[in-house]
Symmetry: C2
Subunit: 243 residues, 2 copies
Amino acid sequence: MLSALIQKLESLEPLSDDAQSRLRKLPVRVVNFAPREDLVRESEPRGDVRILIEGVASRYKALDGGHQAILGFLLPGDIDETDAFADRLDHGIAAVTASKVAQVPRLMFDQLLLDIPEIGRAFRRMARLEESIRRIWLANMGQRVADKQAAHLLCELRVRFAAVGMGGVDWFTNPLTQEHLANVLGISAVHMNRVMQHLRELGLIKIEGHTLRFPAPAKMDRYADFDGGYLNSAAHERPRERQ
Amino acid sequence: MLSALIQKLESLEPLSDDAQSRLRKLPVRVVNFAPREDLVRESEPRGDVRILIEGVASRYKALDGGHQAILGFLLPGDIDETDAFADRLDHGIAAVTASKVAQVPRLMFDQLLLDIPEIGRAFRRMARLEESIRRIWLANMGQRVADKQAAHLLCELRVRFAAVGMGGVDWFTNPLTQEHLANVLGISAVHMNRVMQHLRELGLIKIEGHTLRFPAPAKMDRYADFDGGYLNSAAHERPRERQ
DNA sequence: GCCAAAACTTAACTTATGATAGTGATTCGG
DNA sequence: CCGAATCACTATCATAAGTTAAGTTTTGGC
């Protein structure tokens, strides 16, 4: 049930058989969500630990005018709150596609982290990775032109989707609407469409139904000034840590 | 020497006398930096733990064209790497004003976290706070008009500067140039100037030398859609945590 | 397989923001 | 105290992006 999570953790930090089996034995309750449904409402007191095991979701924050700003996307294996310390989220999470969520009793989860330090370590890795992603986003949004921002976002999505089996080196299955993408970048949906047209004319992307292809991935990366290192290098550098 | 840090930690989590004295007894080496000097260069292997004890600094990330995007600002009491787990930063830190930095040997610092769990807890709180700040930034940058983005930023700075004695409820001492502010918001310096003019005409801010005043703080908050709760509520809600 | 809703696309027009270039006011090192 | 930077500010012009309002295609429920 938690194989997406285990796969993700293992890409950051190899897990012992013991750790893996303990993870697998966690008692999970699987809950289904329809598109647009809230997985977690903003400022809802925290309950169980939630792990996305199927589907795609978005973190959002409500703004004044009833609008909501999308802060990022969650893919299978992502967890509602990486460090699991907060009592409540300061933002909501909504399903983008039909999703399955595994809910694990908080106490069980906490006990597991105490029992098996390597799992705690892997989770901290994950936290650092997300932090890194957010930093890159901030830098990216500082970029002037929306075309490059969008290109960068698409490159990131390509790599992240590939990591969960929803894509490869030059494509991914895209469940996001242009409105989702526009919202995340802080531009209008109309302009998002213009940008997609432009990237298409440049031969950088190609849309086939729900498959987004990158005819020239290297060219695209250069255009977007994208260096995917931050998304997977964690597995290789492997810093020493306090046990 | 570390009073700024202790003050900040204590605003998040009251510290026992023992914890405080252990913090005070940390052997620190104080290093001075001139404006524009790098406190930490990008991708420099980590050395000691660095704590800003005086002055203001900026986190930045180098972009393609030699430009650099400012990701955020550090104030006294802020630490180079909140969780202290990474081997190297994926970004640089530069002094904005003349700064003093306390350097603490990594091993001493780690030992302290192991010895006194409440200090570890306080640092995790700090990490959560910074995460929260970054999230608000992302939401804010999604906003369409630069005027509101800028207003929001100024409100945040007001609260953060006040927390370290560099401001009050309706003013702060501003060491940042309009270029710094523009860079952070991802707009041109010229436009930043226009925005400042506009906010001035609206009577929302008033510049007196290096003092930035807010003649009508409540009105400003409303204009910016700013709710400072996220910057200081941590001290009040106080969630239970694993020891 | 049909219909309604959602998603995508295009066009015309307006506005916000960028680029460049210059001026005067401050700051700061020597 | 002076000169050189740095910084704040203005003006002009070019362009990216927002808004509104269509039309078209795709999707999904029944």
